[in-house]
């Protein structure tokens, strides 16, 4: 995850938005992994290995790849509940993400979080939050910490387009602006909050909401991962330079239903619309074609990448499937970080081992 510098000719730099061919190929590689991982999750859900809600990122892989790749390991990322691939992008191994989806002890949250609550403090992936917009003030708090300690870090906060209508979003934007917090707020704008088109629930466009708080706002085509990567490279530099928060409206599109329990198309968007986007706005196909045209990719390499991605997804599945369920005594563990020596904390009347740590 380093900012690269283009060394090739001007023309090629333009085609690749100034991103080096190596980085571009890496982004392709990343997105293929995300796609194959999510397809494997879809399959696992279909055969009952994954329960509950499961929100797939298929179609939006460019956001995970293009926004996170320009960041550093020491930067924080926080997201909502469509976050499998962002967690991988931030460094959590696919097998630990898949095991979490399976509710297994080797999951990145020990099987206690599930699809919507992926966490890894070492990788600085701060979740995984299930209440729309709930993670936005948390991101501001993480940024507040960074500023309080005067560290050269930042936080990137992902949210869906529907989150910008929550009160907490506005309160967090205002405080971030007032206190110059080192945060990049990213609206992953797939045009629909579940089944409600954004245009039906907002009179003004998304970027205006941030602009009204005095936060600079950028609009990016998230299906073009190179454009996204280039933009986030610049924005991260601005935040690090102490310019305060940044806001980005990343235009993307969800190829699948809102969750595994929801239809892909139907009353809120037509099958024709989805088919058209899948055909013309697939971030993987767009980057592939760009690299083909720039003569920076051949068919054999592409197939090799894809085979590796499929193998990695399958390996994650196999790991998760073989992993153990949490022990029953995990039930009461970690409700509290500190078990006070005095008094009672649990009131269910059940027999419990003592969970003092």
């Amino acid at each position: 995850m380093t900012t690269d510098t283009a060394t090739e000719s001007e023309t090629m730099a333009d085609a690749l938005h100034g991103v080096s061919p190596d980085t571009a190929r890496q982004l392709l590689n990343d997105m293929l992994l995300y796609r194959r991982f999510e397809e494997k999750a879809e399959e696992a859900y279909a055969i009952g290995k994954i329960g509950g809600f499961c929100h797939l990122h298929i179609g939006q892989e460019g956001v995970a790849a293009g926004c996170i790749a320009p960041l550093r390991d020491s930067d924080y990322a926080i997201s909502a509940y469509r976050e499998h691939t962002q967690a991988i992008a931030k460094g959590i191994e696919p097998k630990h993400v898949m095991a979490e989806l399976f509710g297994r002890v080797d999951g990145c949250s020990g099987g206690k979080g599930g699809s919507m609550h992926l966490f890894d403090i070492e990788k600085r992936f701060m979740g995984g939050h299930g209440i729309v917009g709930g993670q936005v003030p948390l991101a501001s708090g993480i940024a507040f910490s960074i500023r309080y300690r005067e560290l050269d870090e930042l936080v990137i906060c992902f949210m869906g387009d529907a989150a910008v209508n929550q009160g907490g979003f506005h309160e967090a934007m205002n405080m971030s602006a007032v206190w110059d917090l080192p945060a990049i707020y990213v609206v992953e704008n797939n045009a629909y909050g579940m089944g409600t088109a954004f245009t039906r629930v907002s009179r003004n466009p998304i970027d205006e909401k941030a602009l009204s708080y005095g936060i600079p706002a950028t609009v990016v085509n998230g299906q073009d991962v190179l454009e996204t990567y280039a933009t986030f490279t610049q924005l991260a530099a601005k935040v690090r330079a102490g310019e305060g928060p940044q806001f980005v409206d990343v235009r993307t599109y969800r190829f699948k239903g809102h969750s595994m329990s929801d239809p892909v198309s139907g009353t809120y968007r037509s099958k024709e619309e989805v088919d058209d986007r899948v055909e013309h706005q697939d971030p993987i196909a767009i980057l592939r074609d760009t690299l083909f045209e720039a003569d920076e990719l051949d068919q054999a390499t592409l197939e090799e990448y894809d085979a590796e991605a499929k193998e990695a997804a399958q390996a994650a599945f196999d790991f998760a499937d073989a992993a153990e369920l949490p022990e029953p005594d995990a039930l009461y563990r970690d409700v509290y970080a500190e078990l006070n020596p005095n008094g009672r904390l649990f009131f269910d009347g059940l027999d419990r081992p003592d969970f003092a740590r």
Binding site: E43, G48, E311
Partner: protein, 457 residues
Amino acid sequence: MATKVHMEALSPTMEEGQIVKWVKAEGDEVSSGDILAEIETDKATMELVARGDGILRAVLLDAGDTAPVGAVIGVIAEADEDIDDLVGDAGGAEAATADSAGAPADSDGAVSDGAESGADGPAEHTPEPDNSKSDRDMEAPAATGSGRVKASPLARRLAEEAGIDLSAVSGSGPGGRIVKADVEEAAASPPAPAAPLAAAATPNTQPTAREVSRPTPPPAVWSDAGATEGFEDVKVSQMRKTIARRLTESLSPVPHFFLTIEVDMARVMEARKSVNAAVEKDGDRVSVNDFVLRATGAALRKHPACNAAWHDDTIRRFDHVHVGVAVAVEDGLITPVIRHADRKGLVQISREVKELAGRAREKRLKPEEYTGSTFSISNLGMFGIREFTAIINPPEAGILAVGAIEEIPVVVDGELAVRPRMRVTMSCDHRVIDGATGAQFLQTLRAMLEEPAAILI
């Protein structure tokens, strides 16, 4: 890279699926997203799509067959890839591995059985919990003629400790509740005469205080020395759970009433002999129950009011007559359905019953073979049961409980005679069937069995 084709959960509640047909055949080239097969779920026929590219190398479940969600039913792989290991996973092997079908283990660790696996867990022998202390604590004080004694929990405990019979103490608390002060006062006054109950129970010993306030065991008539107590917890199978649920659902909301009629079976027994003599060469052999089934089908056709179901705002009267026949199987029972029982001959009914009952015992019935009945019959005659009542199988409105044929003395035309008689008890859903309606149906049934010529055709 090879890809397993799984039976997928194509509806939220689907636990198993049946192959309607394979759209792709072994050897066909397939790509991710191609439709491989049509699957009958518990709700509808759905399409199963490929999740990998290559050749459909193996088809492990035939059309018409059923597999639990998660079972491997095929393999997609390259033409030259070794898939032996994957093919070995077939037959629901994956689904049988505990919780893999997505049903999480219950909190007590019990794992639900695959619908058809029949693999009930081993019976668990649970040691008797040591709850003797709490039992004692919960024990009520001696009942008295005047009924329940009102006392505070503290007063009860103190009285027990002091050996005071609370029934002899008057309470000063609200509503005469005995409280601590009352017990203390009673303890300070001279001891009351021994309570009659305790005195009678142990006439030769001075009753101790403790015994007065607790029920006295009956005098020992035989020794239970050496006898032990214990129990065995037999794990409840999926089928037993379903039976428990269905029957409870029936008895609680369905207002049952029962009608019993006695049928003279002499003519049926004669007819059965001659029919069997004629069909034996074809390997057929009809039973008395087949006659009952045949007659029931015909009688229901004449009494559509009994071939009906309660639907809150409507009573649904069925055009078809599908009769369920309760079959005892290991760990339960199941009711395979003779469809259009009113339109089938005796021999055909006999063959179907045999075939279905056989497969029922092997737990190989398909859902449509045990669902959709409009009326049911349960026969326990073979066990020597003379008469019993059966619980209605909802949403049906009636069920016949058929007893054994017994030679009993009856009065025929004013003379005492020994006749083969059979008792049939009909359980009726009173919301659908009234007493007279059910009685008329039973009259028709009896007439048909007593003059079986009409049902022999």
